[in-house]
Amino acid sequence: MTAPSSTPPSDSPPEMESIRAILFTHERARLHTLEEQAAILAQTDREQGERLRERAQALQAKIDALQQETEKQQTEAVALQSRLNQLRADITAESEALIPRLTKGMSSMIKETIQDSPDEMAEALGPVMGDAIRVQIRDSRDEMVDAIYPIILATVQKALAEFTRELQANIDMRLKSTFGAQNVFKLFSARLRGVPPSSLAIRQALSCTIQELFLIQHESGLLLAHHGYAEKANSDDSDLIGGMLTAIRDFARDSFGDGSDSDSLNEIQYGNERIIIQSSQYVYLAVVITGVEPEWFRARLHAFISDLHVQYAPSLRDYTGDPEDIPDLKPSLVALAATIGTQEDENPEPITRGQKMFLFGGGMITVLLLATACFYLQFTIALWPLAFGDPTFTPTAVPTNTPLPTETAVPTNTPTATTTSTPSSTPTYTPTTTPTHTPSPTPTATSTPTAIPADIITNSSVWVRNQPDINADTYTIIPKNTVVTILVQEDIWVKVEWTSWNGIEQGWIPTHWVTLPE
């Protein structure tokens, strides 16, 4: 044991030393153990420190290696970057050089591709064409308009030419068509309404094509019959369409009408096609057409559907979808389609020989009748005075002559007499009347004034002057065709009397402004 030897020497007696040894033995042993443990720990610390140092050295070596690696990689990165830049510059240069070469070959390549595989080219370009055009229109509308204009113009011209040709053919056919009372009535009726025959011809020449016909029950929307002309006729889905059409009608009625049955949808237009709907009590007829329907179209539909009701009203009302409950209406529908599709207006028949003869005969008879009527009229007029006397002459002859002599007797009855004597009728009548009424005093005076005043009219609107002088003042105008009475004549001037709004007026006008009517 080393513990006792380690204790400090003391001057105490041996007993004390023994007691002390006994008392501290345990502590000494414990102290010794602790010293050993401390030694072990110090050893362990030294070893761990050694290991840590070694590890730190290793790590440091690694760090150094990594740093070296990083530096090396950085160097390489710089080299790569410079190489990349070089490559980029090379590519740019090459692409710039390539563009002219590719441009040269591109058009030929595209051409070849289009020639070799047009479908593939169309497939490839198709999806972007619409967008490309839209973008181009957005960005440069004017250029696109200029580019597309010739195409559109040609297309429109072509369509218009076709339409015009068709219209012209229809009008020609119509002009050669049957001359019927109905056509005459239409023409006359249109004329009365201010529609010229040419417009009527154009209106009648506009074509109308029947596409499909649907006969549908009102309330249920069940399809009773369907007939389609067009290739795209909806034969398979006609029952669905019938139902939806009914639903749309109901929707329109409930939304825009007052909900009553009288407010129903009569027509639907979409694109070039229209659905003409003719309704009746239990069923309605929907006709899909293109073009402009003739004026009798609806009337024909109405007549058809009315006939159906007259014949099959109970069946139409009670129909629940079983075709055995109702007669086959498709033939009727086909017949209607044939009637309104190949209408008389669409294919008018030319005038037959018999009709031409009838027209010629009718014209000749009309001319003969007119000639006979004229002859009879002339004969009647000539013989009328002999048969019944001249009722118009007596009042003019007597009363107008009697007041005038004071004015007309003196001046110039002679010149007026010469002018008025020219008409052939007056002299023939005067002899018969004058002897009876004024037998004695002045036969000349009575004859001249009677003829002049009544028949002279102005041949134009003429200024009236207060003196027979061109420099004299004008104070009014006599309108054209005014009846005047010549009172006095001086050289080229005549003093006339006429009746205006202001009453009887007088004034001077040149003689050449008055003439006798034929």
Binding site: S220, D239, L240, A247, G321, P323, E324
Partner: protein
């Protein structure tokens, strides 16, 4: 060639019970669902081959719920049967059975009624018992079946039941 008989039937039920889904997969149609939101109707066709005739069921799918109006009721005219649908996960849609049945019977007292509880595939979310559905259907003088538009469970059966109940 068998004669083709067309019959108008209606598809009724509250909003989002799955009516349109029932018709979408199992019937022929050319009209888009948008018709339902615009004019309130979409018509499809179910062609069923019977022994002596071909039956074309013209299915008028009417918009339901609050949008079912007086004018919607007009579309029931001429319908010979109706498929009335509720959502098994929404108990409030069960009230539609009575409402639509009355609407239908007001127009056609003899109309055949088939009641369907849709969305039967959502087993965990089901809130209406089968017993209750059977009782209500019987009270309204109709037949009941579970359906699932998602899995197609009994959808064909519903149309066949309807066809069998239609008197030709």
């Amino acid at each position: 060639m068998k004669r083709i008989i067309q019959k108008k039937v209606c598809l009724l039920g509250d909003f989002a019970v799955g009516k349109t889904s029932l018709t979408r997969k199992f019937v022929e149609g050319r009209f888009d669902d948008r018709y339902l939101s615009t004019i309130g109707i979409k018509i499809s066709r179910k062609r069923l081959e019977m022994d002596t005739y071909t039956l074309n069921l013209l299915i008028w799918d009417l918009v339901g719920g609050a949008n079912f109006s007086k004018s919607s009721a007009k579309h029931l005219h001429g319908a010979i049967a109706a498929l009335i649908v509720c959502d098994l996960t929404r108990p409030e849609t069960l009230d539609g059975y009575k409402f639509y049945a009355e609407q239908m019977r007001a127009v056609n007292p003899n109309a055949a009624l088939i009641f369907a509880g849709n969305k039967s595939d959502l087993v965990d979310e089901r809130l209406i018992s089968d017993e209750k559905l059977q009782i209500i259907s019987k009270q309204l003088n109709g037949s009941y079946l579970d359906t699932s538009a998602k899995t197609g469970f009994q959808v064909e059966t519903a149309f066949h039941w309807m066809a069998e109940q239609i008197e030709i």
